[in-house]
């Protein structure tokens, strides 16, 4: 019933503003094949309301897009909506009063009740007010394996990290890279974090990333993680690619056996026509600890003077959480919907696994929600250096603990 109500509410909003179609500029960095396909679903839904979608896509991840977004907002000529990883990144803009308060929309639509896990909405909340519309859940804790690589070698497809490591030598002997890894620093750091969750366990991970406990960071659980990472970096030697989806592509084409990457990699497999469970296998939590983080993307709305624009922004925010958009967008993107009450009938094997874990509540917050971008950047620098050099696990751990100790 509630669903119907909110739908009606959304429709009412649509009807109210449809008369004044406006050019609605949306900035995002979803430009890869699967991403663009997903964002097109939102655009379609938006244009169906009679408004115009002005696409402000900038390729090259958040680092390229961020100065553009902030400049636009500072310069007083902002876009109407922009994509941000929700988390602590936008805090300051909220403090400076640059972002539109969505609390009324959220209350009207009952976001508090429909958004699952609720932590997603918490990440959008600042001093009790809601400033962003979460759109999907992305989790990092996945390992993707190409089944055919193992079939050719006559090996069973590994079901956890240890099995993967055990078979790695044979994969290598066959002239393939066991673990694909792109050169960008966030990739190695992300993979490291995934290994940390899986191998050190939830409590230790939360102690370090959540409570910034440097002792745990220097402790034996993380020592094990660094040892494993040291082993993993050997397994990734030979993957001479930069971008994450090039690395994914190595797995798709069978040049590499596996990749640790977030669930967005799924979009690439889908684009390549591969079927989850048949052509490729996904192991949440590396098959060790089936936990997933609930990061994801959200849309923020710069405050504007024009009431029509404000109305359109609210309309857009409401639309993003509508069941239709949630289903169509997340199916295309390979991410999970932010509301637990929609039916992903078309969800594939991997998404189902994710949904199950989500339903069980085996979630952890995303690193972006716990760490400031500053700390994240420092970790990126450390882990990517660790990954590319022969830095010993002990040295890396010592520096890791230092960064955690100074994190705010």
């Amino acid at each position: 019933m509630r669903l119907t109500a909110s739908l009606l509410g959304a429709t009412a909003l649509c009807a109210a503003t449809a008369a004044h179609a406006i050019d609605f500029e949306v900035s995002h960095w979803w430009t890869s094949g699967g991403e663009a396909n997903a964002v097109a679903k939102i655009a379609e839904a938006w244009e169906a309301t009679g408004n115009t979608w002005v696409d402000g896509a900038i390729a090259g991840s958040g680092d390229t897009a961020r100065p553009i977004m902030i400049s636009r907002i500072l310069g007083g000529d902002p876009m109407d909506a922009f994509q941000f990883n929700h988390g602590r990144q936008a805090e300051e803009m909220i403090q400076a009063g640059l972002l539109l308060d969505l609390t009324d929309v959220a209350e009207e639509q009952g976001w508090r009740d429909i958004v699952n896990p609720p932590s997603l909405l918490d990440a959008c909340t600042y001093e009790g007010r809601i400033y962003c519309a979460p759109i999907n859940i992305h989790s990092w804790q996945w390992m993707w394996l190409n089944n055919s690589v193992y079939e050719e070698l006559g090996l069973p497809v590994p079901t956890n990290w240890d099995e993967f490591v055990d078979t790695a030598d044979e994969v290598r002997a066959a002239g393939k890279v066991p673990l694909a890894m792109g050169g960008q620093s966030w990739q190695s750091q992300g993979a490291f974090s995934v290994m940390a969750v899986a191998l050190a366990g939830r409590d230790a991970w939360m102690a370090v990333y959540g409570d910034k406990n440097a002792e745990v960071a220097a402790g034996p659980e993380f020592a094990r993680v660094f040892e494993a990472a040291a082993a993993a970096r050997e397994l990734s030697r030979g993957s001479n690619v930069q971008d994450w989806n090039q690395a994914t592509n190595m797995v798709i084409t069978g040049e590499a056996a596996a990749q640790i990457m977030g669930d967005w990699a799924q979009g690439e497999f889908a684009m390549a026509g591969m079927v989850a469970g048949e052509d490729y296998t996904c192991l949440p939590g590396l098959g060790v600890n089936a936990l997933i983080s609930t990061g994801g993307d959200a849309f923020y709305f710069p405050r504007q003077d024009d009431p029509e624009v404000t109305a359109a922004q609210k309309q857009f925010a409401a639309m993003l959480l509508s069941p239709e958009v949630q289903v169509s967008f997340n199916l295309a993107k390979g991410s999970l919907p932010v509301r637990g009450d929609v039916d992903l009938a078309a969800a594939n094997d991997c998404m189902r696994k994710g949904l199950e874990i989500l339903a069980q509540g085996n979630t952890i917050p995303d690193g972006n929600m716990l760490l400031t971008p500053d700390t994240t950047q420092q970790l990126n620098d450390l882990i990517s250096e660790f990954w590319a050099t022969d830095m010993s696990a002990a040295d890396a751990q010592a520096r890791f603990a230092e960064i955690i100790a100074s994190a705010d």
Partner: protein, 313 residues
């Protein structure tokens, strides 16, 4: 009274009567001053003003947005305790020195070769110069590809049968800076060559005749006579190359993104990463202030020598 009398009495040809006192200093060359207003504004408002703004904000804890909550030298403490910053300045030093030397040497040698009445000089010159028309992004892209171990030069040579051949500077931490150098030189030496060629052309032919009569070997004529005569040319080339080196960013991002594992970090990238990646504006401003400081330390004495003492007329 005297003014009007005077003006009436004298056979004035010009439009205006003679001014009887020295015009105010401020209004002399007024047109020139008005015309240079854009330059003056750029120099003061943009280069001094914005730089000052940056320096001031480097003492704050600004993160995503510039804010004036001062934290003293915290950002600098942090800067100088970050290994990445040391890597960045070390890389800049190596890259800077090498690219200065190689640009000047290659540029000069190419110019000297072309200056020897070469047939098809225009063709060669165009070939050497055209990369300058391409952006660093394009340069980075092309060379990233040429240096790709599987598809690029290494792969091709290996396919020819020399399987142990290794040339993968972009994936080797110790060599990555040289990989960048190869691309940077490809893009930039053409212009240096052009400047040098112009300098060589300005050398009086009689110098060559004199050197020939005196029996001085060609190379010695270059090192002892020609190069010292070309000082202003070298200065211009130096300014051009150096300003490019300090700002090198696009190329690194396009070719290596600072990798592998941060081995090709440079200060400008550190600044960008801090400002936009880490959303720590204060840190980025502190790093850029350090960059600026070193530039100023190097440039002020030069600018003083170059522009301080001389006057026209």
């Amino acid at each position: 009274m005297a003014v009007t009398d005077q003006a009436a009495a004298s056979p004035v040809r010009g439009a205006s009567a003679a001014p009887l006192r020295r015009p105010m200093r401020l209004f002399r060359n007024l047109s020139a001053k008005i015309a240079t207003l854009p330059m003056i504004l750029t120099a003061t408002v943009i280069f001094v003003g914005c730089t000052g703004w940056t320096v001031v904000h480097s003492f704050t804890s600004s993160r995503l947005l510039p804010r004036l909550d001062f934290v003293g030298l915290d950002q600098y403490d942090r800067l100088w305790s970050t290994p990445k910053w040391y890597v960045a300045i070390q890389n800049l030093a190596v890259f800077g020195v090498l690219s200065l030397i190689f640009s000047l040497v290659i540029g000069f040698v190419l110019a000297a070769l072309l200056d020897r009445k070469v047939r098809g000089e225009d063709v060669f010159r165009t070939i050497f110069l055209y990369p300058f028309a391409l952006s660093f992004v394009v340069t980075g892209l092309v060379w990233q590809w040429l240096l790709n171990p599987e598809l690029g030069i290494q792969g091709v040579v290996r396919d020819l049968g020399w399987t142990s051949f290794t040339f993968d500077p972009l994936y080797n931490r110790d060599l990555v800076i040289y990989g960048l150098l190869i691309a940077a030189l490809w893009q930039g030496t053409g212009l240096v060559m052009c400047i040098m060629l112009a300098g060589l052309r300005s050398v009086d032919d009689e110098i060559w005749k004199a050197a020939r009569v005196d029996g001085i070997p060609t190379w010695k004529t270059y090192t002892h006579v020609i190069i010292p005569m070309m000082r202003p040319v070298f200065v211009t080339a130096l300014v051009l190359i150096a300003s490019g080196i300090v700002k090198v960013y696009d190329l690194v991002v396009a070719m290596t993104q600072g990798g592998p594992g941060g081995a090709s970090e440079v200060p400008a990238k550190y600044v960008m990463d801090a400002m936009f990646g880490a959303q720590n504006l204060g840190q980025g401003f502190a790093a850029s202030t350090m960059m600026l400081l070193s530039v100023v330390i190097i440039l002020i004495p030069w600018a003083y020598l170059e522009f301080g003492g001389r006057r026209r007329g």
